[in-house]
Amino acid sequence: MRRGHGTVFWTGFAVIVALLIAAPLVLTEFWRRFVTEILIWGLLAMSSDILIGYTGMVSFGHSAFFGLGMYGAAAALLTIDPPNLWLALFYGLVAAAAVAACVAYFSTRLRDIYFAITTLIFSQIFYVIIFTWTAVTGGENGLAFERPPLAIPGLFDFVLTPTRLHWFVLAVVAGSYLILRRITQSPFGMVLQSIRENEARTRAIGYAVERYKIVAVMLSGLFAGLAGVLYALQNQFAAPDFVFFLVSGETVIYNVIGGIGTLVGPIVGAAFFLLLREGLSRFLTQYYLIPLGAVFIAIVILMPQGLLGFMRRWLNE
């Protein structure tokens, strides 16, 4: 039975990745970009699923990690000549990890709503810093930069065309999914799920729960930062809007719509939400948020497990 499961899983994975590889070849530039951004938002949502779905901690501060990834990449691309993709990744991840370490240290002492509020407050602190520290961050205007080439010295050197960028994003997101999936199935991941199920019990059988939570927040922040770097590469700017808590809120919405505790659910949630918003905004230019909210409420009431909630057990097998 497990063998059959593996075959079906990997076939499904390959088909979806193949479709996403082909996507930029058949889609117009507008939809190509749309799909790339869904993948990036999906990665952000997936990173927060580690906390929401697997550890049982709702973070309302993922915009901070995302934004720091973005600004970290911007710092590398603006200060290092010639611009280097890998250093942009490195700077972005280090910035996100540093912020995640700080947030994790303080917020994991609290539980439930208090944890959520602490992460929210932290993200707003970073928003205000970025918004007001104009000399460094460009303030409200943000920072603009050029896309670096995709190169490994001596091996290859590609210009990052939109299509190649799409493939690069796809590779990073697919790789991140496989890594995160493996982490959720690892002994460490099982401890996180045990914390979600019964924190006191987990402590009583010998786990230093706080340490696991700190590492979970840092891991989650790291992958959120990765999404921020990708977004910076895609749009060639970093702006304070992306550190604002709306982004954190949308991240939680993608999780709830797609199904928490599934990793791919949040990506599907992001796709569903963004497509619906795009579609509705074309017909109802001013009032599109009203039906969007109605659909969201309907999903929460009718499908509290989210779109992929019915597959949760299977996906985690």
């Binding site: 890594i179 493996r182 982490i183 199935q185 690892s186 002994p187 460490f188 991941g189 099982m190 401890v191 799920q193 045990s194 199920e197 019964n198 006191a200 019990r201 987990t202 402590r203 009583a204 059988i205 010998g206 786990y207 230093a208 729960v209």
Partner: protein, 265 residues
């Protein structure tokens, strides 16, 4: 964190205690106050190695509070707890578990959505491999075998794949014991292990505890007098947070003070 506290060091410390029998667990003037209420009042108590000791007492006598102090859930106001010769007063529950004290709960406390096996496996895993991030948890056969052995020892191996929430109340209670056993404790604290069980289940649980007691020291809090009398070598009676009497089951049964406050009702 080591798998077991050094047994050699522990036993030498125990011998150092002038002539007293080697106590695995000992409390000294253990006191805890909640505001004006003294829930435990200078409790001096010892559990000798390899014995089954029981704590009884009327509701509100401080039995569960005593357990919560031992396992680090509550911090005593004053006094000290020694386990295997080391001072464990005020350690958090996870450190106390790592030292070798396991407990079951009065109210069933399991991972309801995980399978019975996973409930036990996660407990076994707390001793090693728990920080591994990039291997599948099923890759650690040693942990799974340990978990299966623990399930087998309580007779639940046949239900290994069942979600814990689907088990009967009695099975969940025994699953609790399996979880505790999987952490390879030296001392097993059972908080009313037969609470809410049918007569048949109670009988099975008594047999189970007796089997387990062959290799372990056990401290048991229990309301069911038959269970206590059958299992315990020593009984301590708590009353309003203080030790009222201590002795063998027959001594306790004949103690007039105990009869007055407890056995009669």
């Amino acid at each position: 964190m080591t798998v077991n506290p050094s047994l050699a060091a522990a036993s030498s410390a125990e011998v150092a205690e002038d002539g007293k029998a080697a106590a695995l667990l000992r409390t000294e003037d253990l006191t805890i106050r909640f505001g004006g209420l003294t829930a435990l009042d200078h409790v001096n108590f010892a559990v000798p190695r390899s014995e089954v000791c029981a704590i009884i007492g009327p509701n509100g006598a401080g039995k569960s509070t005593f357990f919560n102090c031992l396992t680090g859930v509550l911090h005593p106001t004053s006094g000290a707890i020694f386990f295997a010769g080391a001072d464990i007063t005020g350690l958090p529950p996870n450190k106390i578990s790592q030292k070798g004290i396991a407990r079951s709960y009065q109210i069933t406390n399991i991972l309801p959505n995980a399978t019975a096996l996973e409930n036990v496996r996660i407990a076994a895993q707390s001793r090693r491999h728990s920080w591994s991030l990039f291997s599948h948890h099923r890759a650690y056969r040693d942990i799974i075998e340990k978990a299966e052995a623990a399930l087998d020892s309580v007779g639940l191996l046949g239900k290994a794949g069942e979600p814990a929430a689907n088990l009967s109340h009695g099975e969940q209670r025994t699953l609790e014991i399996a979880i505790a056993l999987a952490t390879e404790p030296q001392l097993l604290c059972l908080d009313e292990p037969t609470a809410g069980m049918s007569a048949a289940e109670t009988h099975d649980t008594v047999q189970l505890i007796r089997r387990v007691a062959a290799n372990l020291t056990i401290l048991i809090v229990e309301h069911d007098m038959h269970v206590v009398m059958e299992l315990a070598g020593r009984i301590t009676v708590l009353h309003y947070g203080a030790v009222l009497a201590e002795g063998t089951p027959s001594e306790i049964q004949q103690n007039p003070r105990v009869i007055e406050v407890y056995l009669k009702t």
